[in-house]
Amino acid sequence: MELNDFFISRIALICAVLGLIILFYFSIQSAYTEKGIEEISNELIGSRVSVKGFVGESFFAKETLFFKLSEGRNSIQVVKFNPSVEDFEEVKENSFVEVKGSVQEYKKNLEIIAEEVKRVGYE
């Protein structure tokens, strides 16, 4: 079997196009879907959501910030790995925040692995 320039350049082109398609698909998928805390269920595991609520109890351990996010009777655990100084400023008890992150299951409980935490006005 001989490989020629034409064959090699076509493989390179296919790789580049395939890469772009995957990235394009990810850019659509990676958009955060706005959800209420009560809507977070097992079906959303792995998907990225934007959730608003009041900050409840919080604690910091092993370079990870844990806090409870509540609205009404519903609440969910939020986990922020390697939090920045700004994250600590945003996560104050009773402040109303928007959390963007992915839904994960840990020890049979649902939680949000936060990528971004931002204080917002209560609507």
């Binding site: 490989l3 390179a12 580049a16 890469g19 772009l20 995957i22 698909y25 990676s30 990528e115």
Partner: protein, 395 residues
């Protein structure tokens, strides 16, 4: 659309870092760390595509100008031989073939890698010093005649001692750059100048490559890249070198395919090592680790950025390599070599100051001993192998 814009910008940055000798992706990764907001995955995509493209493009200065990078400096020697035969463009294309196929094999073999390699990591780590010692022994005995064997032993001892002292005191960043510049860059350039080598017109023809050789070379490089991605202190150059010595005679074409592929596959696997066990084995993986905690949903876009980098890197290297090689014979090579020599010395001074100059002077002198005594210049690889043996034996 940032998920597409950032990787594309990474591809362009990779072309620039690959083309400019002395500018490494790790330098840009440090800049990215300084400006990127925390947890911004787009910058991760930028870094990944940049590093993959760089692993292709940096063969152009290595082969065309004899200016090595810390990732692929072994390609300077076979690359230069191809160049003197007017086959510099073919050498570049061989490295591209290695990069494309090893990149694809690495992605296809990820599940196997996940399942099996972790099981063998301890055994491989245990065997590394013995394998390296065996390779050093082979390096001496493979030289013909008692005089050459003696010179090989002297070069190995000198190179090993230089590597130990420099890497211990200057670290693997600047120290490695200075050693590679001396052993493989300056010594090649100085030797070229003394021989008044003339670069012949490079053949820019549509090449036909042996498919079996290409696949075999790429597969070997994937294997080598996957193993070193796990191991601290062992890089793609050592892996390629060990493969060549352990497997036996590998012709220059296949060796260039292996060198082209091993760099790309090592980079790809190191990203997944970061995801799997949180260990950083390349500068880019270390930068990503600082930026974000890699999670499962990041894997697919990472693969997208890698594929984009493979395609973009291969096409860019082919096009730019063609342009440069087509014009290379018109350039006064003695003048060009002198300019690159001064540029590398200036970079050495910038990164290492007066001590850097001493390191370059020592390592290039040892490289020249190897060249003038007509023994294999790869004997100077002891500068990396001896410190690796020392680390693994815990001495």
């Amino acid at each position: 659309m940032n998920e597409i814009f950032f990787p594309l910008m990474g591809c362009i940055a990779g072309v620039l870092t690959g083309l400019i000798p002395g500018i490494h992706v790790n330098t840009i990764a440090l800049l990215v760390l300084a400006i990127a907001p925390e947890n911004d995955f787009n910058f991760v995509l930028f870094l990944v595509s940049m590093a993959v493209v760089h692993s292709f493009v940096d063969f152009i200065p290595s082969i065309g100008l004899g200016a090595p990078s810390t990732d692929n400096f072994l390609s300077v020697l076979p690359g230069h031989r191809f160049l003197l035969k007017g086959k510099g463009f073919q050498a570049i294309k061989l490295s591209v073939i290695g990069g494309i196929f090893a990149g694809i094999f690495s992605l296809l073999l990820l599940p196997v890698y996940f399942l099996f390699l972790i099981e063998f990591i301890e055994l491989i780590s245990f065997l590394i010093p013995s394998i390296l010692l065996f390779v050093l022994f082979l390096m001496v005995v493979s030289e013909k005649g008692a005089k050459k064997k003696l010179f090989a032993l002297i070069v190995i001892i000198f190179s090993g001692a230089t590597g130990l002292i420099v890497l211990k005191n200057l670290g693997t960043g600047n120290g490695l750059f200075l050693l590679v510049t001396g052993f493989f860059g300056i010594s090649t350039l100085v030797y070229s100048l003394t021989q008044k080598q003339k670069i012949p017109k490079q053949k820019i023809e549509k090449g036909e490559f042996n498919g079996r050789e290409s696949i075999e070379g790429s597969f070997l490089s994937t294997l080598g890249g996957s193993i070193v991605s796990f191991l601290p202190s062992v890089g793609p150059n050592q892996a390629a070198f060990i493969l060549r010595k352990v497997i036996g005679r590998i012709d220059a074409s296949k060796y260039l395919i292996i060198l082209g592929g091993i760099n790309t596959s090592n980079l790809i696997f190191s990203l997944f090592v970061l995801y799997l066990i949180g260990k950083t084995r390349t500068g880019v993986a270390a930068a990503i680790n600082q930026l974000i905690l890699l999670q499962e949903f990041h894997l697919i876009p990472l693969i997208g950025a890698i594929l984009l980098g493979i395609g973009f890197g291969a096409i860019a290297t082919h096009l730019i390599g063609r342009i440069i090689m087509k014009r290379l014979h018109r350039i006064n090579y003695i003048y060009l070599n002198s300019v690159i020599l001064v540029f590398l010395l200036a970079l050495g001074f910038f990164f290492g100051g007066g001590i850097g100059m001493v390191v370059i002077f020592t390592s290039s002198s040892i490289g020249l001993i190897a060249v003038s005594s007509k023994i294999k210049r790869t004997n100077t690889m002891a500068f990396l192998m001896v410190p690796t043996i020392v680390i693994y034996l815990g001495i």
